[in-house]
Amino acid sequence: MTPSRKYDPAAWQPEIVMERFTLANGLTLFVLPDHRLPIVSLQIHYKVGSRYELPGITGISHLFEHLMFRGTATMGPEEFSRLLQSKGGEINAFTTRDHTSYFENLPTEHLQLGLQLEADRLLNLKLDDENFQPERQVVISERKLRAVDSPFGLVEEQLFATAYTQHPYNWPVVGWDQDLHRLTLDDCLAYYRSHYHPGKITIIIAGDVEPEQARKLVEQYFGQISAPPAAPEPKVVEPPQRGERRAVVKKVSQVEALVAGFHIVGLDHPDLYPLDLLSVILSGGKASRFHQEFVRPGKAIALEVELPPLPFSAQDPDLLAITAVATPGQPLPKLEQELWASLERFQQEGVTSGELARAKKLLRSQAVRSLSHNFFRGLLVGLLHLKTGDAGLANRILSSIEAVTTDDIHRVARTYLKEDNRTVVVLKPVSPEESEALGPLV
């Protein structure tokens, strides 16, 4: 590419080039070559998250993610991280409702080491009480951080617990406190055997690597690992909600707030694109409806529509959540009333073509910016494959956004943002004394 073309936006191609390989043991590998910097993003996505759990062992997927760093037959606790970090790597992992993902963003020259260590901990993880007990305490501290002591953590937990009566999205990824105390090492060993094998793995290698070279390396370290026969996927369908549900959480707080959730669709449904655009029209940016109507004039501290962006959208039908935080001194019921009135106008009048164009360009620019990052391109391909079986979706996002019409927005607003489909959880502030009288916070 000549220097002038190199810096010409019109010459840039958004398409992610990917090559797919499937090993005999069922492991899937995608290679996304990009040779501009000598770095790679290595990602191991396991098809296991909180939707694979059962009541009584909630939080085990996430706790297990922690245990994967506690060493193997030949490596001490956290030595995995220390060793790869000392090569310049960014090492971490995260657990969601649908998957558990481990990643190493590394200089290319250490890719082989990354694969070797990932295969080692898949095969030879050291699971004993000495590792298990402190890590359980770490996760209990993490739960307190994320849920109990955070401003809206318990409210968000209550939202999902109220909106889902049968589907496992009912409980938080970090798990319920009682289950974290009750889980045993044997539970973890059983979980390990069921879910940590090649049939549940998608590996992504994005960056400075040739596909064939990557395939050989993955074959070398993962090819000989056997996989048990595939187990059926849990398929729980949350029944349609038949009327608004409400709950109250009392907690020491300086503000009154509510979180409302509307059941929508899962990642494989085309309505996700108009819903994404709808959320940008309502609360994305300072020209958005909610910012102009509520936040700028001081009626609310925050009024946000929250929908996880692609590829983080949930596999099964998720909630579109609206968080409304009242300005101190202004009653929450009034804000709530005005919020529903605003949504009703939205449903009746629809959107202007200008609003839709703004939202489309915002989503397009966010997508373009993210594509510069090996890590993000890898997540896009890996998570779309894992949750829908169609990695090619990654290259159709921009056109799917572009194809949405004002009629589509109008339709999804009327279909999903209905009172009967709504769950509302209110945060009601109490004094420390009242809070204590209500019992321990867990």
């Binding site: 956290e78 951080l145 101190p328 164009a357």
Partner: protein, 437 residues
């Protein structure tokens, strides 16, 4: 590992403002940052928040466009404008698609050069800030950070909250913001950083067109680089928060300015002490061995004047005193005995190996260029960076640990339920109970 380091181009615009640019080819993206090298440290003692509020007010209307018009025009390009003050600098950042290069350059110039300071927006801004500060009190980590700075720095320039303070909100008027703007926004203290899919020649041409005649006013406040006096006395302080289940813990002392000669040895020592995640001693001891916390880290906040060195963590309240004791022991050990050869080699290879990962995104590159300019590190800084890291030896690392960690000077703040931690904290020495800071 052979790769091309990004060239940092520089030029002085006709009006005297500095322009720095990096040509970026990974995505058709553009990151524009206007920086004036004065920030929240210039806030008057009784008016914290002036610098940061001014930054936001600039985005709320120009002579040509209202808040709504400006937001609509920017967002209809898929771009975003963000403005804030920090310590030592105030930044306006405009990011968008490279195809909109000229419009984005025009917009940044318009926002900085011709703000209208709309009278109807100021009371709304004040009201929003008040509500946000009230809400901030529900965030234990943020409150512990702010309370610690206050406890540690007192009335010196780094001691207040950048966003303002609930008790002094009413002291701020529109005129304060206009004065900050007139004084601190001028070509003499300003730099425009452009990282994006455009050649520097094109950037320079466009920047000269839109910035060439900008004069500003000034004179700017003298840059703050002094060592603060009247710091909080060493000891253990407890702020009772009966509603929390975990204690927030901050432990620290005064650190160094960014330009100190021991920057690199100390950066490596801190990685080993508590900056390097699972490679650090604090994480190994307090999380991996004891299971007392989900996270713990230490950092030197390097600024123009000496910033704080701080260890930050949280733990279920019953563990509080044990965690404080363990932190003291780890800091003391590194201070006395330095680090091992293996630890140093691993810290060095981390920073050298990680270096190209910081060059992936335009924002990551812009952040480095801004820091280079703010602290006068030289445009060859990136070229010399790995060499500077490799040059540190065991002796200089041990000297840095000995000279710049002071285990007997630690100021410790615990914010948590006193009923569950006060008694055991008293075993560590005199405990000062704070009502408020």
């Amino acid at each position: 590992m052979a790769y091309n380091l990004p060239e940092i181009y520089q030029a002085t615009l006709p009006g005297g403002m500095r322009l720095l640019g990096v040509e970026y080819d990974r995505a058709p993206w553009l990151s524009l940052t206007f920086m004036t090298k004065r920030g929240a440290e210039t806030d008057p003692v009784d008016k914290p928040g002036v610098a940061d509020w001014t930054a936001e007010l600039l985005t709320l209307g120009t002579e040509r466009r209202s808040q709504l018009q400006l937001a609509e025009d920017i967002e209809s390009k898929g771009a975003s404008l963000d403005a804030k003050s920090g310590w030592d600098a105030t930044l306006l950042n405009l990011e968008g698609l490279a195809e909109d290069f000229s419009e984005l350059m025009d917009t940044m110039a318009e926002v900085v050069q011709t703000p209208s300071f709309p009278e109807d927006e100021f009371p709304l801004l004040q009201q929003r800030r008040q509500a946000e500060l009230v809400h901030q009190q529900d965030d234990p980590r943020e409150m512990a950070n702010l309370r610690y700075l206050r406890l540690f720095f007192g009335d010196s320039p780094y001691g207040h909250a950048v966003q303002g303070d609930l008790h002094t909100l009413d002291h701020l008027g529109l005129a304060d913001l206009q004065n900050f703007y007139r004084r601190e926004f001028s070509p003499a203290t300003a730099t425009l950083v452009v990282v994006g899919m455009r050649t520097f020649a094109r950037v320079q041409e466009e920047a000269a067109r839109v910035w060439g005649s900008w004069q500003g006013q000034g004179p700017a406040s003298p840059p703050y680089a002094a060592t603060p006096e009247n710091l909080g006395a060493p000891g253990i302080y407890l702020l009772d928060r009966p509603d929390l289940t975990q204690s927030e813990i901050r432990v620290g002392h005064l650190g160094l300015p960014r330009t100190h000669a021991d920057y690199f040895p100390l950066k490596l020592v801190n990685y080993i002490l508590g900056g390097g995640g699972f490679s650090s001693r604090l994480m190994t001891r307090i999380r991996s061995d004891l299971g007392f916390t989900y996270g713990i880290r230490s950092s030197f906040s390097f600024r123009r004047a000496p910033g704080p060195f701080t260890v930050s963590t949280f733990t279920p309240a019953d563990n509080t005193a044990q965690v404080v004791r363990e932190i003291q022991a780890v800091v003391t050990e590194v201070h006395r005995n330095g680090v091992t050869a293996q630890e140093l080699a691993e810290a060095q290879s981390y920073y050298v190996g990680h270096f190209p990962l910081g060059l992936e995104t335009s924002r990551g590159i812009a952040r480095q260029v801004l820091s280079i300019d703010l602290f006068d590190l030289g445009t060859d800084y990136l070229k010399n960076y790995c060499e500077q890291v490799r040059k540190v030896d065991l002796k200089s690392a041990a000297a840095a640990a000995r000279d710049h960690l002071y285990p007997d000077q630690l100021v410790t703040l615990v914010m948590g339920p006193a009923s569950r931690c006060a008694e055991s904290l008293q075993d560590l020495g005199p405990l000062k109970i704070l009502e408020e800071i």
